[in-house]
């Protein structure tokens, strides 16, 4: 049985798992973006908070994904929850750090100019700081998406949703009929979908970055 037959034969199941996988990552990254930007806004102004952000995210990113997922599963006994927590956690660390860098990188002179013409704190944040930090935040979102596409696959280890199922069942039965195809299909689809998502994010960047600050 070759790869193509395998895919055609199980196209419905594969499509469903692919959808689950992408849906999990997209929703979690979205949540992580909102949280990460909010955290970034809170802590980009104070040096100690900036240090905390970069420290926590560095250490956090070295945590093995498998260990984290297993730990959460041990506590919750729920595969979906474990997957959501793990994916959101890693995405959040990346977006948070980029948000801090992006917001902190906005020229202080510009912010003073904004204040000088009578913009209040909220208006400065919404109209000046966030739009100028957006390209950096968005590049964080791209990295987070790529990274968590892989991490989401591990969630299948604890019966989480997504393409990880194909990979794990394939690996568990290696040598058996269709086992290699299963693992390969899962892996290749994760990579392909990650590329598609990245392309979409690039497109989103083009649409949401004002012409004046486009690279």
């Amino acid at each position: 049985m070759d790869l193509l037959d395998f895919v055609v034969e199980r196209r419905e199941q594969i499509a469903f798992q692919a959808f689950q996988h992408v849906s999990l990552v997209v929703q979690c990254v979205l949540l992580a973006t909102v949280l990460g930007v909010a955290l970034g806004v809170l802590c980009h102004r104070r040096p100690w908070a900036r240090g905390l952000a970069s420290g926590v995210s560095s250490v956090g990113l070295t945590l093995p994904a498998l260990a984290l997922i297993a730990l959460v599963y041990g506590a919750t006994r729920d595969g979906i929850t474990s997957a959501v927590v793990a994916v959101t956690f890693y995405a959040l660390l990346v977006v948070w750090r980029n948000a801090v860098v992006g917001l902190g990188g906005v020229d202080g002179q510009l912010l003073e100019a904004a204040q000088g013409i009578g913009m209040g704190r909220v208006r400065r944040l919404v109209r000046v700081q966030l739009p100028l930090a957006w390209p950096v935040v968005l590049s964080g979102v791209r990295v987070a998406t790529q990274m968590t596409m892989g991490i989401a696959a591990i969630a299948a280890f604890v019966t989480g949703p997504g393409l990880g199922g194909l990979i794990f069942t394939g690996l568990a039965r290696l040598g058996g009929a269709g086992a290699l195809e299963s693992a390969l299909t899962g892996t290749l689809l994760v990579v392909a979908l990650a590329l598609v998502l990245d392309l979409l994010l690039v497109l989103l960047g083009r649409l949401t970055t004002p012409r004046g600050i486009r690279a």
């Binding site: 002179q109 100019a113 000088g116 013409i117 009578g118 913009m119 208006r123 109209r127 004046g212 600050i213």
Partner: protein, 428 residues
């Protein structure tokens, strides 16, 4: 001139003073800024009176507190103590953001937001003041035209698509958008090349001629202060007022060695750019002749008037030559060709230019022309020098606004402050 009634914000907390002048007077009384943990205050009890509609330049070495002083006027920096009023209203009692929407603020390189188009940048303050879209957009076009940028070409561009000088112009347009009575400028032309800077300075003078705002401008360039300022405040450390005077006075009578060091060399030469031939009131009549007039007649008239030379005019009264009488007698006729190196200046020229022409002239003077190059008289070196000295004396006798860091300055200013009009204006 824009119709001010249509552009004046409806929620104005500050207002212009009197007709023709849209600016409002600014008074600082014993204003101090001290940062905790630092020994000497950054600004030590400065009192300063800025008359409505005038351009006051704050100059001084870096770290002298001039920028801090400026930023306390719009409360980007909150004073530790003291009183600041604009048009008689205590700015410390107003909401900071609301206050700043009523005060134009220009910084180096314009401080434009790179992610917003020119039109959006300029329309920010009107937008915050709640103007509707159409009025804001009309105002934006009006302002771009005022600063010399064609709205159709530039309104939709982004800052990075503009040259440094153009960015600075947009910065000025943005500051003027809501027609504020007061304009604060912090080293506005520091980031552009010398030629552009000069052009922008001329432009600002032209705009100020039209609008008559009260402008407080920080610079470290003394020549800029002389050129732009109606008055100059020379500040020492801790924003100590070393001298507060007209540019001419600062140049001719520096208060102490600190000021003269700061003024630099060539102070008297700089002063010459301040005076125009017109201001001198020193034009003299001399013998004039028409082309083709008999030489004997001209010579006789010149002798009778005691002139050694005569100016030959063409049919429209424009000067052609300035000739010695004995030269005329030798030639036998008043020849009509224009002398190439005839020393002539327009009556609006600066004394600097006039002297330049005089020094190149063998007659010890220069022919002055008026509209359409018509002859008006001659100006001699001695007259020019006398006139400058007389003007100096007259200048000294005028009453000058107060500035200082002592208690007396503060008291004088405190007494001069009008009653706070706050209550009834606030109720309206």
């Amino acid at each position: 001139m824009p119709d001010r009634s249509s552009t004046r914000p409806t929620t104005s907390v500050l207002d212009g003073d009197q007709d023709g002048v849209s600016g409002a007077a600014i008074d600082l009384v014993a204003v101090t800024k001290a940062y905790p943990g630092q020994g000497a205050p950054a600004v030590d009890s400065i009192s300063l009176q800025v008359p409505a509609g005038e351009v006051v330049m704050l100059v001084g070495p870096s770290g002298c507190g001039k920028t801090t002083t400026l930023k306390m006027i719009n409360r980007l920096i909150e004073p530790t103590s003291g009183t600041i009023t604009i048009g008689g209203r205590d700015v410390l009692s107003l909401d900071g953001d609301e206050l700043r929407r009523q005060i134009g603020y220009v910084i180096q390189a314009g401080g434009l937001f790179p992610h917003m188009s020119v039109a959006t940048n300029v329309g920010l303050v009107p937008g915050m003041l709640g103007w509707d879209k159409r009025r804001t957009s009309e105002r934006v076009d009006e302002l771009l035209e005022l600063v010399g940028l064609d709205p159709r070409r530039y309104r939709d561009r982004y800052p990075r698509e503009l040259s440094g000088g153009q960015q600075q112009r947009v910065g000025v347009a943005r500051a003027l958008a809501a027609d504020p009575p007061v304009l604060l400028m912090d080293e506005p032309f520091g980031a552009v090349d010398p030629i552009t800077r000069q052009r922008l300075q001329d432009e600002l003078l032209r705009i100020q001629d039209e609008l008559r705002k009260t402008i407080v401008c920080v610079t470290h360039d003394f020549d800029e202060a002389v050129k732009l300022g109606d008055r100059i405040v020379v500040l020492g450390e801790g924003a100590r007022v070393v001298q507060y005077d007209t540019p001419a006075e600062v140049l001719s009578h520096p208060a102490d060695s600190f000021v003269s060091d700061f003024v630099g060399s060539g102070a008297s030469l700089k002063a010459l750019t301040l005076v125009r031939v017109d201001d001198l009131d020193g034009l003299q009549e001399t013998t004039t002749a028409r082309v083709g007039e008999p030489v004997a007649d001209i010579a006789a008239r010149a002798r009778a008037a005691g002139d050694a030379a005569a100016v030959v005019l063409d049919g429209r009264g424009r000067p052609l030559r300035w000739v010695w009488v004995r030269q005329l007698e030798e030639e036998g006729a008043a020849v009509g060709d224009r002398e190439d190196d005839l020393p002539t200046v327009d009556r609006r020229s600066t004394l600097n230019d006039a002297l330049d022409a005089m020094l190149g002239s063998s007659y010890g003077g220069v022919v002055v022309t008026g509209r359409r190059d018509v002859y008006e008289g001659v100006l001699f070196i001695q007259t020019a020098i006398d006139a400058v000295q007389a003007a100096r004396v007259a200048d000294q006798e005028r009453s000058a606004p107060v500035a200082g860091n002592d208690e007396r300055s503060a008291q004088v200013l405190q007494q001069a402050l009008p009653e706070e009009p706050g209550t009834e204006a606030g109720a309206a």
